[in-house]
């Protein structure tokens, strides 16, 4: 049964079309990698999934509900940057995952003690317990992203959206983040959409890899048409489709 | 309407320093208590601002000259009574030239002064006496009184018109040449305590308390009480000698009877007519003013000058007379 349904979605900014005729169905618990050339609209697609923007045409439904009008508790997100609150300590950031929905954005009394205990458990799981009282700015990039994911998960969203979460990390850190993410997925069975620039990363982590590209192309006006999903690979079988794709990477090259 | 709390504004000037003293010394409170009212005396640095505030209704009384009373509150439709005629300038205001020469030498020179103030009036009278007019000058340059001394020290400035204590400070400079001063037009620049006519009518006790307190201090000054004079001198930022020399060019009415006599004198109406004409000539009486007679002024004997149907400036000797009679 389809959990996330994207139905013939168009998005334009002003008169400029970015996405065209995007349709896709995703089952609960699937891990979807999204790849495509720079500027082709991957982040835009994620913003639509997040309900941060409303599509010009078409609609996106989650679990059969009417389309959401703004971001909310059911969708968690991690961006490449700015995904943790710099003015909160690491522990406060995790507690914020649960407390921001409260009227004052805080827990008080007993609840507070309990939330801190739960936060400390989460921190232990994501390996950040030794820096619980530090501020994010003092953490390495990899630790910051780990915290951002931990915080998003603390809110128990039904879908997790990742926009190039490891784009700014060096390869070593990146590999350990892959392990981290795979472990988490095993534990939670969450539905995940992840935008990445790195094809091998997309195939390694994803169950499916969606490729965004412009199917039509006007050489006199490169912005005349929008992008859509041109390939939808089954990536469960380890790295094998990656080899197949290699021959097709010209679609990823910028014009 | 009747009330018991009053606010009176004053600004620093030789003849108005007693207002500061009678506030500090408690004399005002004593008299206010006697009449069962409360009078707050507020010092305001900026003289024009104090009159504007009074005109806007923030104060029940203010210290002002006859000329500024006519132009601001009375011209602005606020019926105002001259409660106390404290003094007239008798040399306190002066036209000063840098270097040798006479009034005729002002022709073709720029003159620095506070425009539209009594200095401007004094200049007009001085030029009159020499058969000149403002058009014969190279212009008048509006210069803040606070900066007059510094301005005089610059090469740009060739002549200034100003008042004390600035006059005495400028006269100390080598080459300062006093051409004309208010002792040449005695009784024309008059320093008053003016109050709102309606307020005074509804609250005679307010008038009595102010006048009573004032003449108590006048008595001390007339007796030459050095402690009192020193305090006034320091409040005005100078020392006893400086203050005394300023007083010397001020015709203080220590005795209320003298003030009454002056106010009832025959000179006052003609002075006020001259002042009104000067103001009209400068456009100060406002665009609504068809002529210099637009504002009516009444005198103690009941006579008026200007528009008798629009009397907003009243010289009233009732309360000073009470002081003279010892009836307060």
């Amino acid at each position: 049964m389809s959990f996330v349904t994207v139905d013939n979605v168009f998005q334009s900014y002003g008169t400029r079309p970015i996405l065209e005729r995007v349709s896709v169905e995703v089952k609960e618990g699937e891990f979807i990698s999204i790849v495509g050339a720079s500027g082709c609209g991957k982040s835009t697609f994620l913003r639509l999934l997040l309900a941060q923007e409303t599509p010009s045409r078409g609609e996106i439904r989650v679990a059969g509900q009417p389309p959401a009008r703004e971001p909310g508790l059911d969708r968690g997100v991690v961006f490449q940057k700015y995904s943790v609150f710099p003015h909160m300590t690491v522990r406060e950031n995790v507690v914020a995952g649960e407390s921001l929905r409260r009227p004052w954005g805080r827990f008080f009394g007993k609840e507070k003690v309990e939330a801190r205990k739960r936060a400390d458990e989460t921190l232990a799981r994501i390996g950040l317990d030794h820096v619980a009282d530090a501020y994010p700015a003092t953490l390495s990039g990899g630790m910051q992203q780990r915290l951002a994911i931990g915080q998003a998960l603390a809110a128990r969203p039904r879908i997790l959206l990742l926009d190039e979460p490891f784009g700014a990390l060096d390869p070593g850190t990146r590999l350990s983040m892959h392990d981290f993410l795979q472990d988490l997925r095993r534990d939670t069975g969450m539905t995940v959409f992840m935008v990445t620039h790195d094809l091998s990363e997309g195939f390694k982590l994803g169950d499916r890899v969606l490729v965004f590209d412009k199917p039509r192309w006007d050489p006199h006006d490169p912005n005349a048409y929008g992008a859509t999903i041109t390939y939808d690979f089954d990536a469960r079988n380890g790295g094998i489709p990656y080899q197949t794709i290699e021959e097709d990477t010209h679609v990823l090259r910028p014009a | 309407q009747e009330k018991t709390e009053f606010r009176v504004a004053w600004s620093i000037y030789v003849g108005w320093m007693p207002w500061g003293y009678l506030d500090d010394s408690g004399i005002m409170d004593k008299w206010a208590e006697k009449y069962g009212i409360d009078v707050e005396i507020v010092q305001i640095n900026d003289y024009v601002e104090s009159i504007n505030q009074y005109t806007a209704g923030a104060f029940d009384g203010v210290t002002a000259t006859n000329m500024d009373t006519l132009s601001i509150p009375s011209g602005g439709g606020v019926d105002t009574t001259a409660l106390i005629v404290g003094d007239f300038s008798n040399g306190n205001d002066a036209v000063i030239l840098k270097g040798e020469g006479g009034l005729a030498d002002l022709a073709g020179k720029p003159v620095n002064l506070v425009e539209l103030s009594v200095s401007h009036y004094l200049l007009a009278r001085a030029l009159d006496s020499a058969g000149l007019s403002e058009a014969d000058l190279a212009g008048v340059i509006n210069t803040s009184d606070a900066d007059m001394i510094a301005a005089y020290a610059t090469d740009d400035v060739q002549a200034v018109v100003t008042w004390n204590p600035l006059v005495s400070a400028i006269m100390e400079e080598p080459g300062a040449n006093k051409l004309f001063d208010s002792s040449d037009i005695p009784g024309e620049i008059i320093d008053l305590m003016v109050v709102n006519t309606e307020t005074l009518a509804a609250n005679p006790d307010f008038g009595k308390a102010l006048v009573g307190a004032w003449y108590e201090v006048m008595g001390l000054m007339a007796a030459g009480d050095e402690a009192v004079l020193t305090e006034m001198a320091e409040a005005s930022g100078t020392d006893l000698d400086g203050y005394k020399s300023q007083l010397a060019s001020t015709q203080m009415f220590y005795d209320p009877a003298e003030a009454v006599a002056f106010t009832q004198g025959a000179e006052l109406p003609s002075t006020m007519v001259t002042v009104a004409e000067f103001l009209f000539d400068k456009g100060i009486l406002g665009e609504g003013a068809p002529s210099a007679d637009f504002v009516g002024i009444s005198y103690p004997d009941g006579s008026t000058t200007g528009d008798a149907n629009n009397v907003t400036f009243r010289f009233d000797t009732t309360y000073m007379q009470m002081a003279a009679d010892g009836a307060l």
Binding site: - | V48, L116, N142
Partner: protein, 270 residues
């Protein structure tokens, strides 16, 4: 939907933008009505209609004495002073900003001094200015310069320091000397910041201009405001204030437009 995510449409936004102006006007009219009911010749809050009359008169009728339309005359005088003061400050600030931002020795010498200078309240040292610069146009221009120059220097030298070190190193590897780096790399990149800083300092510049004109002058917008204060001609004052505000808004918009025009390179890709 959260208020944070709701956006007014174009029509509503235009309407909302007018609301505070309308409210301010209404408040004034009520206040004015109340005072005029008590005293019909009250000068403090003249009726809007009489302000409009006065404004028309000020903008069109020549002065009886001089035969000139004073408002235009005052405007010209003030704008001249303002332009000179701001222009000189901008020029000096650019030079000092480059020197302080680029050269460590100059920075060590001047940064602290300029910092302290910027803390001195300029109005308090006016008498000295008069003596040194006289009472003429010069002293008014100098007051503006003294008022805004330290801020401009601090701002611009900060901007020069913010030029990425990489870019300066790149210029060095292309053989650029210190003066070439200053003229060809730092200066052009400073220009948009200069316009921005000038926009920011126009407010203080007006303030100092008015203060200078209030103290010793025979023409200018500030002169007139402080002169007519002597007979509480609020209709004239309000007209002048509105006019000054309009001039300031126009200048601000013009500088913004200029900045967009002149520095196309600051615009990012589509």
């Amino acid at each position: 939907m959260r208020w944070i995510n709701r956006r007014p449409g174009a029509a509503l936004a235009a309407f909302l933008a007018l609301v505070p102006f309308a409210l301010a006007l209404a408040a004034y009219m009520i206040g004015s009505d109340m005072r005029l009911a008590v005293n019909p010749s009250d000068k403090l809050l003249p009726a809007p209609s009489s302000i409009v009359d006065t404004a028309l008169r000020l903008f069109t009728e020549p002065d009886r004495r001089s035969g000139r339309i004073l408002l235009w005359h005052d405007t010209l005088a003030s704008l001249q002073r303002l332009a000179l003061g701001v222009g000189i400050s901008a020029g000096l600030a650019t030079a000092f900003g480059l020197l302080i931002g680029l050269l460590p020795h100059v920075r060590a010498t001047l940064a602290g001094f300029v910092g302290v200078l910027s803390m001195i309240p300029p109005l308090a040292v006016l008498p000295i200015l008069f003596i040194v610069f006289g009472l003429g146009e010069l002293s008014k221009v100098v007051l503006i310069v003294i008022g805004i120059l330290p801020f401009l220097i601090r701002d611009l030298s900060q901007r020069v320091l913010e030029i990425p070190r990489e870019m300066i190193v790149k210029a060095e590897t292309l053989g650029a000397s210190t003066s070439v780096i200053a003229l060809r790399v730092a200066l052009p990149q400073l220009m948009p910041r200069l316009l921005q800083a000038v926009r920011l300092s126009l407010g203080p510049a007006w303030l100092f201009l008015i203060a200078a004109e209030a103290i010793a002058s025979d023409q200018g917008l500030g002169y007139r405001i402080f002169l007519v204060r002597r007979y509480l001609a609020m209709d004239v004052i309000l007209t002048y204030v509105a006019w000054i505000t309009l001039l300031a808004v126009i200048m601000d918009l013009a500088l913004r437009a200029l900045s967009r025009r002149a520095f196309r390179w600051t615009e990012t890709a589509l």
